[in-house]
């Protein structure tokens, strides 16, 4: 925890609380996380949380959560033969429709097509796989679609 013993400026304290909420997304992505719960972790109101998270990390908490879930789904599609529905529920989506739409929106192709084309993963530590294989918000899907 951040303790009073560490002399942090107000922006640094705010960063640290936002990071704590982002870590909760990374850790608990499969749970029914929602913005009010995350805002409580960051000790701020919902509206303030969404704005500040975006300023701190460059995207909304909702989008970050979606990317974390889709990244996990990509790994499960690659590494297991579990069904798409099973994987959808395992990574925290409540409906197959939302999962498929979000997956296609972020990755550029539907889960089943991704599974057929995905190369096997490299053996790197989970943090790197998590961070670097997480689909970006910044346009790769569109590029991949047109390729």
């Amino acid at each position: 925890m951040v303790t009073a013993a560490i002399p942090l400026a107000s922006n640094e304290l705010r960063n640290r609380w936002m990071l704590r909420a982002r870590d909760a997304i990374d850790r608990d992505y499969a749970q029914p996380l929602d913005i009010p719960a995350l805002a409580r972790i960051a000790l701020v109101s919902e509206g303030h949380f969404i704005r500040t998270f975006r300023t701190t990390f460059g995207e909304t908490p909702h989008r970050y959560l979606q990317r974390r879930r889709v990244e996990r789904a990509m790994a499960l599609l690659r590494n297991t033969d579990r069904s798409v529905t099973d994987i959808c529920l395992a990574v925290g989506f409540a409906s197959l429709g939302t999962f498929s739409r979000t997956f296609r929106d972020i990755v550029g192709q539907p889960p089943s097509a991704f599974r057929q084309l995905a190369p096997p993963p490299d053996p790197v530590p989970g943090c790197f796989a998590m961070a670097w294989s997480r689909p970006s918000s910044f346009g790769e899907a569109a590029v991949r679609r047109s390729a």
Partner: protein, 158 residues
């Protein structure tokens, strides 16, 4: 040419608090704590293993301006500084439970990976490290394994 990587460094925002966390909670050992006048040379290592020391540096003058130090502090607290280091262990799940009980923050729970079991932790400032239990060694070809292979695939024997 080289023998080893003996030291590497991370930025911490308060050296006393860093000692409390890395030595007090994480169970590392302070291997050097020297007031050089111009800086406090502070390192930690795994107890009983002097092969690698991590230098816990505080950003600030004279090695950098206050303005640059503020930028680093901003990045550290956003979790943007990259991996600090990976600690290896024989029992990742037990270590995780023990550290969690001490209030250490985790990024993920121990997870089975192709290379072993690992989880990630966050220090009080925002640095991330990982705790890894390497998979039992693969690929050791004992006589027993050769015999089994020979049974399974007679053409591959020898």
């Amino acid at each position: 040419m080289f023998n080893s990587i003996s030291h590497s460094g991370i930025f911490v925002l308060d050296q006393d608090e860093a000692v409390d966390f890395y030595a007090g909670k994480m169970g590392l050992e302070v291997s050097a704590d020297v007031d050089l006048g111009f800086m406090r040379w502070l390192t930690v290592c795994v107890p009983g293993n002097e092969d690698h020391h991590v230098v816990l540096q505080k950003p600030g003058p004279p090695i950098m301006s206050d303005e640059v130090a503020a930028q680093i502090r901003d990045l550290v607290t956003r979790g943007a500084m990259g991996l600090a280091f990976i600690l290896s262990t024989d029992d990742c799940r037990r270590t995780y439970e023990e550290l969690k009980a001490k209030g250490v923050e985790f990024l993920d729970e121990p997870t089975e990976q192709p290379y072993g079991i690992d989880c990630g932790f966050r220090d009080p400032f925002g640095n991330q490290g990982r705790i890894s239990q390497p998979a039992a060694e693969l690929g050791e070809i004992t006589d027993e394994v050769k015999a089994r292979w020979a049974e399974e695939r007679p053409d591959a024997a020898g």
